[in-house]
Each structure stands twice: as structure tokens, then as C-alpha cells.
């Protein structure tokens, strides 16, 4: 009888603990994302120097340097000398683009990323039209910044972004390096366009999927001093 009672108490306690834990985690996920967004909202605009290094097996392009301007909520412009390939998603690290519209955050676990304790949160957009199907965020709960992000998209496969932070710029924590890893489809280019009639390499007519990496270095941030504002006003953007 006593044993039965002990089991009952134990079972009730476990149920309570589990319920409490899930409840707290759900709350934590919302709070974590809210804190990240609020922190980034303080950065109204910025100008920074960028250096872009592209590593895709079928593209050879020299590293490019230039300037980036950002203005809330999602205005972004990059200018480099000469021609550059700019990753469609990688340049803008604002959490706004990821968390726009309704979304459901789910706390998953704690994990260490590059020596930093993070909370892993999965974010599922509520809209059926969203191009991003699911994202996983590794959030630093102390600094309220994203350390790593992985998203699966409807049309462009999966991409991963890893953020490295250094010194503070005017008190703001902004990334100094982003490694953007993404899926890329390689189509064979028609011979008439390449002029490569004597190529000794066998041609593969089937499109191949490959991975690409873009490393973006940010430096010399000028935050909330109207630099980007001036730029976008000047451009009429």
C-alpha cells in the first residue's frame, strides 16, 4: 500500500515537473527571440566596410571589398569595386527577415557553439507562403545574439550562417564575420555560350547540387549616426 502511494506521489511529481519544464521552455523560446529582436531593434541603421570571400567549386572570383549600408527594417545595399556576387540571404543578418509574420518558437536544448553556451530554438513560420520552412537558432542568452542559424527553404535548400562577434561598436554587438554555407545547383552551360569546344573534361548534362560558402568580414561599423539614412535618402530607397 505504502509502495503504491509512493509510486503515485512520484508519478504526480514527475508529471508536474515535465509540465512545468515544457511550460518554462516554451516561455523561454519566446523570451529568447524577443530579447534578440529587441536588441537588434536598437540598431536603427549602420554603415560598415565589408570583405566578401566566395568559395564555390565552379566559380572563381577574387575577394571583394566594399561598403554595406543597413536601415531598419530590412533595407540593405552593398557597393563593391567592380563586379561582385552577393549571397541573396547572407548579407542581411537582421533577425527581422527571419522572424517576420507569425512564427512558433520551440525550445529544443542547450548547446555549446564555438565555446559559447547557447539555447537552441526551432522557429516554424505560421504563414503558408513563407519561403523559409523551418529555422534553428543558436541563441546566446547572456548577450541576446544569434551565434548560429540554420534554415530550410522551400526552393533553395538549406543554408547555415555562423556568426563571430568581436569588439562592441558604439555599444552594439554586431558580427565581425559571417560564414554563410548554402546549397547551389550547378547546371551545365551550353557550349555555344562557353566557346569551350575543345574541353577535355566530360560534360555532365544533369544538374548537380553542390555547397557554396561565402565568408563576409564586417569592420568599421558606424552605427546610428545617420550614414545609412543619408545613403538611402540619396538613393531614394
Amino acid at each position: 500500500m505504502n509502495q503504491k502511494r509512493t509510486y503515485k506521489i512520484l508519478f504526480s511529481a514527475l508529471t508536474c515537473m515535465l509540465l512545468f519544464d515544457f511550460g518554462a521552455s516554451g516561455q523561454d523560446a519566446d523570451l529568447l527571440i524577443k530579447n534578440v529582436r529587441e536588441k537588434f531593434q536598437k540598431v536603427k541603421e549602420y554603415e560598415a566596410a565589408v570583405s566578401i570571400k566566395i568559395d564555390v567549386d565552379f566559380v572563381k572570383i577574387p575577394d571583394k571589398t566594399g561598403t554595406i549600408w543597413f536601415m531598419q527594417p530590412d533595407h540593405i545595399k552593398v557597393k563593391t569595386k567592380g563586379f561582385s556576387l552577393l549571397p541573396k540571404r547572407g548579407m542581411n543578418f537582421s533577425p527581422n527577415q527571419l522572424l517576420e509574420g507569425g512564427f512558433t518558437p520551440i525550445w529544443i536544448k542547450k548547446e555549446v557553439v564555438d565555446g559559447h553556451n547557447t539555447e537552441v530554438v526551432k522557429v516554424i513560420p505560421q504563414s503558408d507562403d513563407s519561403d523559409i520552412l523551418i529555422s534553428t537558432l543558436w541563441i546566446d542568452p547572456v548577450k541576446n545574439i544569434i551565434r548560429k542559424l540554420e534554415s530550410t527553404t522551400r526552393n533553395e535548400g538549406t543554408f547555415v550562417m555562423q556568426f563571430s562577434y568581436g569588439k562592441l561598436y558604439s555599444g552594439y554587438e554586431l558580427p565581425e564575420k559571417i560564414i554563410f554555407d548554402f546549397d547551389l545547383r550547378k547546371n551545365e552551360i551550353p557550349l555555344g555560350l562557353t566557346g569551350d569546344f575543345e574541353s577535355e573534361r566530360p560534360k555532365d548534362p544533369k544538374p548537380k547540387n553542390t555547397r557554396g560558402t561565402v565568408t563576409i568580414f564586417y569592420s568599421d561599423y558606424i552605427v546610428n549616426q545617420g550614414k545609412a539614412l543619408q545613403y538611402f535618402k540619396g538613393k531614394g530607397d
Binding site: 567549386d57 565552379f58 572563381k60 557597393k79 547546371n187 552551360i189 555560350l193 562557353t194 566557346g195 574541353s199
Partner: protein
Amino acid sequence: MYWTTVKIELFKIFSRVRTYIGFAAITLLIPLIQIALYIDGETYLEFSLQNLKEAFSFQGELLNGYLATYIILITLYVHIPFLVTLVTGDLLAGEAASGTFRMILTRPVSRVKLILAKFTAGIIYTSLLIAWMAVLSITMGVLVMGTGDLVVIKNTIFIFAENDVLWRLVCAFAYGLVAMWTVAALSTMLSAFADNSIGPIMLTMTIIIAFIIISAIDLSIFRVVKPFLFTNYLGSWKLFFEDPVDYNKILNSIWVLLFHIGIFLSATIITFRRKDILT
């Protein structure tokens, strides 16, 4: 004495209307291609780079004078041999056809020196033609579309910085010189066998087109033959538009072409020395 003969041969070459056909064709074609690219070049690039557009936004202009020059090189390097052979195929056969050989050979110039002088004159004509093509395509391209980074689309897409392009174009044209000298040597050799210039011109072009077709068809039997076809090395200027540049491969191609020039010239000399001049 030798240079006097070369000068006489050059005078003969530049006295003929057909010599100016090549220059006229280039003067007409290059602006035409460049204007067409200026108007519709974006579509060409859009189509070529469509798989990159899925993941990247493009910043900056790729359509510029350097790209136009590169496209001209790709488009014309199969056709320029015709303009070369139009003159060089006539070097010996033209004399035979007009019946002037006997008169020429009465001069105190050996047959070997005469062949060498004619070949040198042919080489000078070819060099002037390629130089005109280079100057016209680069200067006009830069004037019309300006300079910029160069995109080269092969199995790999190479994008070269603006300050890394001009030397590649100059080297490509310089390589083109050696390639076209080989064509000149071939047509001069064929010219030694003929008594009218149509034959050597047609035969030279037939050989080049046939060899290029064999090179382009990816069959195992052709793959074995391919390294022995001189046409396989005509397009090695494209190696300057890779990163890193495979200088060993380029040098090897140059040696192969020079070897062919030597063979063709030797064959011309041997044939012409033994030739019974009847006209």
C-alpha cells in the same frame, strides 16, 4: 638581298585587293559584334549565369569592352584562318597561276630564299591582321562599353578583376599570332602543290574545319587522335583565362604549333626545290 625580296613580296601582297578583304571584314565585323553586345549583351549574360542568380545577386556591370573582346576572340578564331589563307594560300599558287615563276626565278635568288621571303611576307601580313583585330576590338570595346571585371564562362565560371584582364587579352592575341602563323604555313605548303589559289584556300579551310569537328566530337576514337591534330592547339589562348594559368600547357601548345610550322615550311621548301616550273 633577303629583305629586299621580302619587301618585294610585301609589295605584291599589299597590291592585291584580296589582301584588304581580311582587314575590311574585321573592320566591319568587330563593330557589328560590339554594337550587338552593347544592345543585347545583358540577355547573353543572364542566360549564361542563370544558375548563379538563384543564390547570388549581382552587383556591378559585367558587360564591358573586355568581355566584348573576349567574345570576339571566341567567335572569330575559327573564321580568321580563312582571312589568313586568302592571302597565304595565294603566295605560291598565285605566281604559278599568273605564270610569273620563271621570270622570278631568273633573278639571283635561290628557291629556298624565295620561299622564306614569301613565307616571311605572309607572316607579316598575318601579324598585321591579328594586330589590327586586337587594337580594334580592345580600343573600340573600351570606348563603347568601358572597362570592368571579366567573366569567363567555362565548366568553371572565372571572374577576373579589372586590373587582371588586359595582360590576359594581350597574351591571348599574342598566342593567336602563333596559331595563325601555323595556318599561314599550312596554306603556303598547300600552295606549293597547286597551280591556282582556290585549291589551297579551300583545302586549308577543309582541313581546319574537319579537325575542329573531330576535336569537338567526344568519342573515344577521336580522343586518341585529338592530341595529334594541330587545330587542337589553336584555341589554347583560352588557357590565359583560367586561374591559375597553366603555363606548361600553353608552352607545350606553342611548341606543337612551332613544330608544325617547321614541318609545313620544310615540306614547302622540299616540294618547291624539286618542282618543275613550267609556267
